[in-house]
């Protein structure tokens, strides 16, 4: 290739050309600017020094450590320690204050809500949703309906020990599978479902004639023990209020029949071993301040 090009000297500048030609335009073979060349050499030198100073080359089972002894893991641990130290000023106050005090002190409240929001996103959002909006079977934490109570202490208790978790102090209370376990027959279940729906004035589907008298009878014999004679529920047992507008597992007739037939037992893990007490405090305040706290 090169042979076919003439490395001629440009008449105007007196500099030889590279021999390339495009549509009559030729390229001068100027040397690289000296400053550029020096910067280039410096970068090479820099990379060699870097290899010596810092971890660089992969070996078969390990890597070159570098003479400075810098480790990314240590660096991140220092960063985390710094972060903890930064937070300590507020973190210590948070640890010392009671939940009520936190809610009444604006700076502590703001700090707890910020920390709580972050912890909620990391730990709680997978089930309860990013804003605590919940989903079918996963309670909405924004509303004022609480299975296990909505006061600060009750919320903290639920986060610490969970519900139906392996924790010794976990909330317990199961909704039996009345249908599956043969405690009630299908017509009784349907009647109970219609009765329960009537407690919160839910619309009766077309073509259905509810037998409310029979339903009431079944309810008083089987359900009232946990849900109460008036159906208002019992937070000691996690038995939901059946007279309000909030239905965790659905309020349509089929869903209610399914709940009575198969039982329901949502599981909330215990966080006491996994999150530090201050974070749990922050979470409690955050959840309480979403709007539904009592």
């Amino acid at each position: 290739m090169a042979d076919t090009h003439k490395h001629e000297v440009d008449a105007v500048t007196g500099i030889s050309t590279t021999g390339h030609e495009w549509d009559g335009i030729r390229e001068l073979n100027n040397p690289l600017p000296r400053w550029w060349l020096w910067v280039f050499y410096l970068t090479i030198l820099w990379s060699v020094l870097y290899w010596i100073a810092y971890p660089a080359w992969p070996l078969v089972t390990s890597y070159t450590y570098g003479v400075l002894g810098w480790k990314s893991r240590e660096a991140i641990q220092t960063d985390l320690a710094d972060l903890r130290a930064q937070r300590a000023a507020f973190g210590d106050k948070l640890a010392a204050a009671s939940l009520e005090e936190i809610e009444q002190t604006p700076e502590l409240l703001a700090f707890a809500r910020a920390q709580g929001r972050a912890a909620f996103g990391d730990n709680c959002a997978p089930c309860h949703g990013a804003g605590g909006a919940g989903a079918k079977g996963y309670p909405n934490l924004n509303d004022d309906d609480w299975l296990w109570g909505g006061s600060l202490e009750q919320i903290q208790q639920t986060i610490l020990h969970g519900a139906r978790s392996a924790d010794a102090e976990a909330h317990v209370g199961d909704m039996p599978a009345f249908g599956r376990d043969g405690m009630l027959q299908r017509p009784e279940i349907v009647a109970a479902a219609d009765y329960v729906r009537s407690l919160s004035n839910l619309a009766v589907p077309a073509g259905v004639t509810p037998d409310l008298a029979k339903g009431k009878e079944v309810f008083e014999a089987n359900c009232a023990a946990c849900h109460g004679a008036d159906g208002k529920g019992n937070p000691e047992l996690g038995a939901p209020n059946l007279t309000d507008g909030i239905w965790l597992f659905g309020s349509d007739r089929d869903s209610v029949i399914a709940s009575i037939t198969n039982g329901r037992a949502g599981l909330m893990p215990a966080w006491s071993g996994r999150l530090d007490p201050t974070t749990i405090k922050a979470l409690t305040v955050y959840v309480h301040s979403l709007g539904g706290g009592k």
Binding site: V12, T13, G14, I15, P33, R34, W35, P106, L109, A110, R113, G129, A130, G131, G132, A133, N140, N142, D143, D144, D145, N241, D244, G245, I246, S289, L290, G291, G292
Partner: protein
């Protein structure tokens, strides 16, 4: 440097007289005396005085705010300028100032060309200062040339060292003054004197020392001729009525030595006033020969006028052979017409009007600037919550701004939702007229969560416009923020 070397190589390689770049001639202007030099000294003292001393000027803003008249408080995000205090979200005031600055520059240019460059530009002011130092230490250009021939190497090296040392001192002081605008000046000065200043202060002092030393000491007129975009822009903005430093060739030509022109004049032959002494060129800080006509490198400093006037006075000819004048008038005088000056032209009037409008808007905005503010953000998830009694609730994050240097209490209310119930998380326990009350610290913002719920039956998919309102419990000032209330 490399560009210069390169261009010399080019010129040499090319082996013909077509260099691609002009090599730099170092310029050592002579000292002059006269009107414009006096104006320049005055402006130099005033502008440098302001720059170096302004950080020490105090301004009382009460106990919760800094007492420095001009302060850029980066940590707390505040800019203080005497009675004005600007928050980060009000950066449009700075935009307004920049627009004003540009318009003033346009107006100056329409009236008298590049006078900004010649009198007020920091590049010119510091270069002037550095040249004074240069002349003080190494002598004027003539003494320089003599020293180059006669003085010993040691003396020259000593003088050069002294000059660069003094330059660096000025440059260092310039950087030192810069950082004082970003912290309490007296405190920082003490810290710097004791060597206990923050790292970032030293860094910026270093950067500004370097730039001042390089730009004012070494690059000088090259900044004005090659680096600065303003000469190009101003060339497009000027017109034939704008005063420019002009050599009145109608009077000056044909030039000739004093003896020759006097002789010609005696004979009644045409002879100009210019005696070709080249004092105007020697005085020019950018190396321009103004007798060739107005040109890109000229910064309108008027020093050539002073230089020529001195010569004219000495030889008893009328001054202002070089003067602020227009090319058009030179032409008119040649034709025997009277000169015209038109300061009020479409463009000057337009610029002045724009300055008045922008300035007026700024003053009005500052005067009507509220000392409190409110903004609202609707919760994104969930958009609404159904409560156990069937009512609907929306949650908002509100941010209240208190721009006054004392704590204030605001009562919060909401409009636009029928039967609305308003609750706040993070408010005080007190209630004012049924409205929740919130306290915001001095010169601070406060974020709270507002919960609005209603029993009213909303149409499906409703999205009602709502307005939050804060009212200062003591003073009654209000501020509002709009948002929406969403239903199922």
């Amino acid at each position: 440097m490399n560009v210069a070397t390169k261009s010399e190589n080019f010129a040499a390689d090319a082996d013909d007289d077509l260099p691609l770049y002009e090599a730099r001639r170092k310029i050592y202007p002579i000292a002059v005396r006269g009107t414009f030099r006096r104006i320049k000294w005055t402006l130099l003292l005033v502008t440098l005085g302001i720059y170096y001393l302004l950080p020490f000027v105090r301004w009382d803003r009460g106990p919760n705010a800094p007492s420095q008249a001009v302060l850029v408080d980066l940590v707390n995000g505040r800019f203080y300028f005497f009675f004005i205090e600007i928050w980060p979200q009000e950066i449009y005031y700075v935009t307004g100032l920049l627009i004003l600055a540009a318009l003033v520059l346009f107006l100056m240019n329409a009236v008298a060309g590049r006078i900004w460059c010649g009198y007020l530009c920091p590049q010119t002011v510091w270069t002037d200062l550095f040249q004074v130092i240069e002349r003080l230490v190494e002598g004027d250009p003539r003494q320089r040339r003599e020293k180059l021939k006669n003085a010993s190497r040691v003396q020259r090296a000593f003088e050069a060292a002294a000059k660069h040392f003094l330059w660096l001192m000025v440059a260092w002081w310039t950087g030192g003054a810069w950082v004082l605008y970003f912290a309490d000046a007296p405190t920082l000065t003490m810290q710097l004197l004791k060597g206990e200043g923050p790292m970032v202060a030293y860094l910026w002092i270093g950067i500004l020392t370097f730039t001042t030393y390089v730009l004012a000491g070494h690059l000088r007129e090259q900044v004005c001729t090659y680096m600065c975009p303003w000469p190009r822009i101003q060339a497009a903005l000027t017109d034939e009525y704008a005063f420019n430093v002009t050599y009145r060739y109608d009077r000056g030509e044909p030039r000739g030595s004093l003896k020759k022109t006097e002789a010609l004049k005696l004979e009644g032959l045409p002879a100009g006033d210019c005696i070709d002494c080249r004092q105007c060129v020697a005085a020019c800080p950018t190396g321009v020969d103004i007798r060739l006509g107005s040109q890109l490198a000229c910064i309108q400093c008027g020093l050539c006028i002073d230089a020529c006037d001195t010569v004219m006075e000495k030889i008893g000819r009328p001054t202002r052979l070089i003067a602020y004048d227009t090319e058009m008038n030179v032409q008119r005088r040649i034709k025997g017409l009277p000169p015209v000056t038109k300061v009020f032209r479409a463009r000057t009037v337009l610029y002045a009007a724009l300055i008045a409008v922008v300035g007026g808007i700024m003053v009005a905005a500052l005067a009507m600037r509220g000392s409190e503010g409110l903004s609202a953000i609707h919760d994104r998830n969930p958009l609404f919550v159904q409560l156990s009694d069937g009512s609907i609730r929306n949650a908002y994050t509100l941010r209240i701004v208190n721009k006054q240097p004392m704590p204030r209490r605001f009562a919060l209310s909401v409009e636009g939702v029928p039967e609305a119930q308003l609750e706040v998380v993070g408010g005080l326990s007190e209630v004012e007229n049924g409205r929740p009350v919130v306290e915001v610290g001095p010169d601070q913002t406060y974020e709270l969560r507002a919960l609005v719920s209603t029993h009213a039956k909303l149409p499906l998919g409703a999205s009602l416009p709502v307005t939050f309102k804060i009212t200062d419990v003591a003073g009654g000032e209000t501020s509002i923020a709009p948002d929406h209330f969403k239903g199922p």
